[in-house]
C-alpha cells in the first residue's frame, strides 16, 4: 500500500483495571500533521505511546484493538517491536539526548540498522541535521557533547535523531512545552517542513500551536475521542459542546 498513514480501530488501553483509552477509532493521514488535544490525564499521551508500542515497557499496561500501518496490524502479538520502532520515530516533552557527541547521537540508530560505512554515516548525519535545521549551528562541533547544546537545540537534535533512522511516522509528545518561545517557533517551523515527508502525530497542550501547525485535530476527554475534524472546523465551528468549551478555555 502506498499510503503509510495510520488507521486505528477500536483501541483501548488499560493500566491494571483502569481503562485509560476507551475504544478509539481514528485515521491519521500520511504527509500531514495531526494534533491531539485535551486536558491532562485524558489519555492522549497514552494513546500516542501505543502507536509505537512504547507501552509495552510499562509492566501492567495492556491494549486491545487494531492499529494498521499500511497492511500490517502493529498491535498483533507477533509484530517485531524492534523493527516497528525503526519505522516510527518519537520525540518527547523533555529533550533526551544520549550522553554522547552530537554525531554519535544521530549515528546511534543507523548503526544498529547496519550502516557501518563511515562516509555514508557522515552524509546521513549531515542530512538529518540539515532537515532538523540544526546543521549550521552544529557543523563545527559535531564531536562535542550533545548535552552542551541549549534545550531547543537538544530537542531539534532529538528530532534529527529520529529522522536519521528514516521512519514513516513521527510521534511527538508535547515537543515544545519545555522550550522558550524562540525555540518553540523553530521547532514548529521544523514540523511544518517535515510534514511534506512524514506522517506526524503531535500531542500538545497549546491550542495556538495546534491551530498553527496541524491540518487535523482530535479532541480527547477522559480516554474517549470526542471529536476529530479539520483543524479549522474544530477551532471555529466544533460540533460537540465539550470541544467548544475546552477550546475556548471554559474548562480543562
Amino acid at each position: 500500500m502506498a499510503d503509510k498513514g495510520i488507521s486505528v480501530k477500536d483501541l483501548s488501553v488499560y493500566y491494571g483495571d483502569n481503562k485509560a483509552v476507551k475504544n478509539v477509532t481514528i485515521d491519521f493521514n500520511n504527509k500531514d500533521v495531526t494534533a491531539l488535544i485535551g486536558p491532562s490525564g485524558c489519555g492522549k499521551s497514552t494513546f500516542l505511546r501505543t502507536l509505537n508500542r512504547m507501552n509495552d515497557l510499562i509492566p501492567n499496561a495492556r491494549m486491545t484493538g487494531e492499529i494498521w500501518i499500511g497492511d500490517e496490524d502493529i498491535n498483533h502479538p507477533k509484530t517485531d517491536v524492534v523493527l516497528l520502532r525503526r519505522r516510527i520515530g518519537m520525540v518527547w516533552q523533555r529533550p533526551n539526548p544520549f550522553h554522547k557527541s552530537i554525531y554519535e547521537n544521530i549515528a546511534f540508530g543507523p548503526r544498529y540498522h547496519g550502516l557501518k560505512n563511515k562516509s555514508q554515516l557522515d552524509d546521513l548525519v549531515e542530512e538529518s541535521l540539515r532537515k532538523a535545521a540544526l546543521w549550521e549551528e552544529t557543523k563545527d562541533r559535531l564531536h562535542t557533547s550533545a548535552l552542551k547544546l541549549s534545550g531547543g537545540q537538544q530537542q531539534r537534535l532529538c528530532i534529527a535523531r529520529s529522522i536519521a533512522v528514516k521512519p514513516d511516522i513521527i510521534l511527538m509528545d508535547e515537543p515544545a512545552s519545555a522550550l522558550d518561545p524562540v525555540s518553540t517557533s523553530k521547532v514548529e517551523e521544523l514540523i511544518s517542513e517535515l510534514k511534506q515527508d512524514y506522517c506526524i502525530v503531535i500531542v500538545t497542550h497549546n491550542m495556538h500551536q495546534a491551530a498553527r501547525i496541524s491540518s487535523k485535530t482530535a479532541f480527547f476527554l477522559s480516554g474517549e475521542l470526542v471529536e476529530y475534524d479539520n483543524t479549522e472546523t474544530m477551532f471555529t465551528n466544533p460540533v460537540k459542546k465539550e470541544t467548544s468549551d475546552y477550546i475556548s478555555g471554559r474548562f480543562g
Binding site: P59, V82, R85, R86, M90, N96, Y112, C158, R161
Partner: protein, 301 residues
C-alpha cells in the same frame, strides 16, 4: 498593646531556637573534626617517627624487599606488604566488578520486580556478614580447594582476592543498582524508540551513561578490600615476601599490622614501622576517597 508583646516574644523564641540548633550541630561537627584530625595526627606522628627517630630511609621502607624489624641489623622493607595489599584488592575488584554490574543490570533492567523485591535484599544481606565468617569459609573451603587443584599450600593472593571479592560484591552491586535505577527513563525510551533492542540499549546507553557511578562502586569496593584485615589474614599465609605465584604465601599491610601489633613495645623501631604501614593504608584511603569525589563530579555532567 498586648498583641504586640506576644508577637515580640514569639519572635524571640524563633531566634533562640535557631541558635540552639546551630550551636548543637556546630558542636557535633567540631567533635567529629577534632576526632579525625587527632587520629590523622596520631598515626602520622607515630608513622613518621620511623623515619625521623629510627633513621629508616623512606625509600627503603617503600621499596625494600626484606622485612625483619627484630633482626640484626633490622630491615624495614615493606614492599612485599604493599604489593600484597594492591594485588589482592585490585584482583578482588576485577573479579567482583563484572559480577556486580551484571547483577545490577539483571535486577534493574531484566527483572525489575523480582530483582528489587528478592535479589537486592539477599545481596545486601551479604554485606552484613562479619568478615571473620568470610575468612573462616575461605580457610575451610577455598584454601583446601586451591591446595588440591594448584601447586602450593592453597593460601596466598588468589585465596585472599577470592574471599575479598565476595566481601565487596554487595557494596559494588548496591552502588551499581542505585546508579542504574537513577538513570532518567527518557534515555532508555529514546533508545528503544530508535529501534534499539534491550541489549543494545543496555550496552550502548545505560552502561556508558552510568559508567562514572559504576566506577564509584568499584573504587568503594577497592577501598574496602584494601582496608580489610581479618579475612585476608586468615587465608593469605602471612609470609613477608613477594610471592612467585598467586598460590604462594604472602602478606598485606593490614595482615602485617594485626599479626605483630600485640608483640611489639610501644615506641620501639618495630612498633613505629607498623605505624608507618598504617600511615600508608590511611593515605591510600584518602586517595580512594578523592577518586570517588572526582568520579562523582564527572557523573554530574
Amino acid at each position: 498593646m498586648a498583641q504586640t508583646t506576644d508577637k515580640k516574644i514569639s519572635a524571640n523564641n524563633h531566634f533562640a531556637e535557631e541558635w540552639v540548633g546551630r550551636i548543637y550541630t556546630t558542636l557535633c561537627v567540631l567533635v567529629l573534626v577534632t576526632t579525625i584530625v587527632a587520629m590523622v595526627y596520631f598515626v602520622a606522628s607515630r608513622g613518621l617517627s620511623t623515619f625521623f627517630k629510627n633513621d629508616v630511609n623512606v625509600l627503603e621502607l617503600l621499596t625494600g624487599l626484606k622485612w625483619s624489624p627484630e633482626g640484626q641489623p633490622p630491615a624495614f622493607g615493606a614492599l612485599p606488604f604493599i604489593f600484597g595489599s594492591f594485588s589482592t584488592s585490585i584482583l578482588a575488584a576485577l573479579l567482583a566488578a563484572p559480577l556486580s554490574f551484571c547483577a545490577a543490570v539483571f535486577m534493574i533492567e531484566i527483572t525489575p520486580k523480582f530483582g528489587r523485591k528478592y535479589l537486592q535484599p539477599v545481596i545486601e544481606l551479604l554485606a552484613g556478614i562479619p568478615s571473620v565468617v568470610y575468612g573462616f569459609i575461605g580457610l575451610s573451603v577455598i584454601v583446601p580447594f586451591f591446595r588440591d587443584v594448584f601447586p602450593g599450600q592453597g593460601v596466598g593472593i588468589a585465596a585472599g582476592a577470592l574471599v575479598l571479592s565476595i566481601m565487596i560484591l554487595p557494596t559494588m552491586t548496591t552502588v551499581a543498582t542505585d546508579a542504574l535505577a537513577s538513570l532518567p527513563s527518557g534515555l532508555k525510551e529514546g533508545s528503544y524508540a530508535l529501534g534499539a533492542t534491550r541489549w543494545q540499549t543496555i550496552y550502548r546507553v545505560v552502561l556508558p551513561t552510568t559508567l562514572p557511578s559504576l566506577l564509584t562502586g568499584v573504587v568503594l569496593g577497592l577501598a574496602r578490600a584494601f582496608g580489610e584485615a581479618l579475612a585476608v589474614q586468615m587465608v593469605i599465609g602471612n609470609a613477608p615476601f613477594i610471592p612467585r605465584s598467586l598460590f604462594e604465601s604472602a602478606s598485606t599491610l593490614t595482615s602485617a599490622i594485626t599479626l605483630s601489633m600485640g608483640n611489639t613495645v610501644s615506641g620501639s623501631a618495630h612498633n613505629n614501622a607498623l605505624w608507618s604501614l598504617a600511615l600508608i593504608l590511611m593515605l591510600m584511603t584518602f586517595v580512594f576517597v578523592f577518586i570517588v569525589r572526582w568520579l562523582e563530579k564527572r557523573s554530574k555532567l
